[in-house]
């Protein structure tokens, strides 16, 4: 995927030179391994800063919310799905966007890779399907497919769903993957096992809200956890409040989540917060045949009503 870099720079430079956009949003190389940084550029000269590799996992749709400029934006499959959701939810207009589509083969799971090695990883190089990590006194070759983020391993929308131009050939979509295997595992647990599973899952949450803030869906002017009149949720480390935050955050994303994995990637504690949202994605798919962000021409599952909607859950 690193070959995309040149093309992204070319396109960005051209867009800015021709005045077609006011800014281009993309990634630049981060200061530590596996961490690239979202940035905007406003002049063609800055295009050299843009890069692409398997560490561009944050969701750039998060950075266009309510912006007024005309924006060129680098978007892989999931980013493009969140741009669709943004357009549907009136957070940006299609006309404001020039989408530079990136056919994606998945992002590397920084938490997983860090956990594989006791020592600090000080460098990471990528070439094709091979990822080479190294540090003080060690060097190790990994296959990218073995260290993909879980959401990428099970992704069935790797190509952008809307774009104005592409940085490379479309990639084949994965078939035969099962994005919901872990949800089924949880579903098969007894209530007590489920309780313990989720208690353990969030036991080290520090309530920094990185998961919420990395998410392009979380743009409420005041989040429910920040409301004070009434105060829905306490602000302490009381487990009831920590649970409330995670459960409600997930429910607010129902029918809107593209499973981009930005929440999980952002979490400084390595909590698998997608365990919550994935269940709701599965429900939306099974109950309403709905996957978020695939088209601007349909309303999201929880935003519309059909006479034949399932209603067995109403007792």
């Amino acid at each position: 995927m690193t070959a995309y870099t040149d093309k992204i720079r070319q396109i960005a430079s051209k867009l800015l030179t021709e005045g077609k956009v006011d800014m281009v949003i993309g990634f630049r190389k981060g200061s530590i391994p596996m961490m690239n940084q979202p940035l905007f550029i406003k002049t063609p000269g800055e295009a050299q800063e843009l890069i692409w590799d398997s560490h561009c996992a944050l969701n750039l749709a998060n950075y266009v919310t309510n912006r007024k400029e005309k924006i060129g934006i680098v978007a892989k499959g999931c980013d493009s799905r969140n741009l669709v959701t943004h357009i549907i939810e009136n957070k940006i207009t299609r006309e404001q966007l020039h989408i530079i589509g990136v056919p994606c083969t998945g992002m590397v799971d920084r938490h997983k890779v860090s956990a594989m090695i006791e020592a600090e990883i000080t460098a990471i190089e990528e070439s094709g399907d091979s990822i080479k990590i190294s540090g003080n006194g060690f060097s190790k070759e990994l296959k990218k497919t073995e260290v993909l983020q879980e959401n990428c391993a099970g992704c069935t929308h790797r190509n952008p769903v809307i774009y104005d131009e592409l940085v490379g050939e479309l990639v084949p979509e994965q078939s035969g993957v099962d994005p919901y295997a872990s949800v089924r595992e949880v579903e098969s647990m007894s209530p007590e096992e489920k309780w313990n599973y989720f208690e353990d899952l969030i036991s080290n949450c520090i309530r920094c809200y990185a998961c919420r803030n990395a998410c392009p869906l979380c743009y409420c002017p005041t989040c429910f956890v920040d409301e004070s009149r009434p105060q829905w949720v306490g602000k302490s480390q009381d487990p009831t409040d920590v649970r409330t935050f995670h459960l409600l955050r997930a429910y607010h994303c129902a029918g809107r989540c593209s499973d981009c994995g930005a929440c999980e990637r952002a979490c400084p504690m390595g909590i698998k917060v997608r365990e919550f949202t994935k269940k709701l994605n599965k429900d939306c798919l099974e109950l309403y045949g709905w996957e978020a962000g695939l088209t601007v021409d349909a309303r999201p599952a929880l935003d519309t009503f059909k006479a034949d909607d399932p209603q067995d859950f109403i007792k």
Binding site: Q37, L39, I206, Y209, A210, G234
Partner: protein, 357 residues
């Protein structure tokens, strides 16, 4: 001071003895990472690590702390009277704390234990704590402690410094508190005469392994408003998502928020870590927010650590160079880069709008 030599067996024995006298904390494996946790019977602190994910500041300054309880039951005599929560102030020991994190307590002390204000919660907990440091033999690539007032073998803030060489530990008492702890652990074999020299060599080696630095020499002489209005803030803070990660993992971030939580007719007044990254940190009751925009909040964090603190205390930056915020930031905002930008900022040579207007 004399160096004490501790072999593996007396280390394990000593730690068990300490548990009878102190609540004993140390780095423990916790979900793929290390955190400071209380050591249970038979548990030893991890000694081979770079640093814990969270700083150990919570040992003295917990993320959530009950301060008072109250009743709203009108039929009770003590209705609406705040009652102090009894705190466990049994002596505690942090074994294996890194020198940077120990220095952080000294920095934070300026806030919690000043002439004007004495925060009894923090002070009592701090006084009950003995800090047993573990010198860093392999600093991280993101550690810049030597340009933040300490070093891999830094002693300031510590009561004891432990130095590891192969399977042997050497202990150096730095304060009276440290002497007492060593005594309680029963460690008393004097190290061989040449040990001190060896330790110095290890120190020099560890310091030479530090590869990250920040420049801070010009921060003091800069005008506050010039840095405040510098043109780089918007671009440098664009990626920030305004989560509280940097402030929560930071050993020197000290801000808190006080909340009353009422359940039925009784309640608790508690304090929780707060974060200047959140809009809620500054929003007024009127709805006006003096730090309305993201860049203003990020700027505040860096201005506080690298300028206001520097000006107020005249003793360096409010940062110990542990590098946690760099490693944990989800969007790669790097304090080293921001610090260097602030330090080298020259409004005269800047062709920006601010300078020309």
């Amino acid at each position: 001071m004399n160096l004490i030599q501790i072999d593996a067996q007396s280390w394990a024995k000593g730690i068990e003895k300490l548990k009878a006298v102190y609540r004993t904390f140390g780095p423990k494996k916790e979900k793929n990472d290390l955190e400071f946790k209380e050591l249970q019977a038979g548990e030893l602190p991890e000694l081979h690590f770079q640093n814990t994910r969270m700083s150990p500041k919570a040992l003295v300054y917990p993320q959530t702390q009950a301060m008072f309880t109250y009743s709203l039951d009108e039929s009770r005599e003590d209705c609406r009277i705040l009652k102090e929560v009894k705190r466990d102030e049994k002596p505690q020991a942090a074994i294996g704390i890194r020198p940077c994190d120990a220095l952080a307590f000294k920095l934070v002390q300026r806030n919690f234990d000043s002439r004007e204000y004495q925060d009894v919660y923090w002070i009592n907990a701090y006084e009950a704590t003995t800090l047993v440091g573990l010198a860093c033999d392999h600093p991280c690539s993101t550690c810049f402690c030597t340009s933040a007032g300490t070093g891999p073998f830094g002693e300031e803030g510590l009561d004891v410094l432990l130095i590891q060489q192969n399977d042997t530990l050497y202990a150096k008492a730095i304060t009276q508190k440290g002497e007492s702890l060593i005594q309680a652990a029963g460690w008393k074999s004097a190290a061989a005469k040449d040990a001190a020299g060896n330790m110095d060599a290890l120190k020099t080696k560890a310091e030479s392994e530090i590869s990250a630095f920040v420049e801070t020499d010009k921060l003091k002489q800069k005008k506050i408003m010039e840095i405040y209005e510098a043109p780089f803030w918007e671009a440098e803070t664009f990626s920030c998502i305004n989560c509280g990660t940097c402030t929560f993992v930071c050993p020197t971030c000290w801000c808190f928020d006080i909340q009353d939580e009422t359940h039925g007719k009784s309640g608790v007044r508690m304090r929780n870590w707060d974060t200047c990254m959140s809009p809620l940190f500054t929003i007024h009751a009127s709805g006006h927010n003096p730090r309305e925009h993201k860049y203003e909040r990020v700027r505040q964090r860096f201005m506080h650590k690298l300028k206001y603190y520097v000006d107020k205390y005249n003793d360096g930056i409010q940062c110990v160079g542990c590098g946690r915020c760099i490693r944990s930031c989800p969007v790669n905002i790097d304090i080293r880069k921001i610090c260097n930008k602030m330090n080298s900022f020259d409004p005269q040579s800047c062709s920006c709008e601010v300078a020309s207007s």
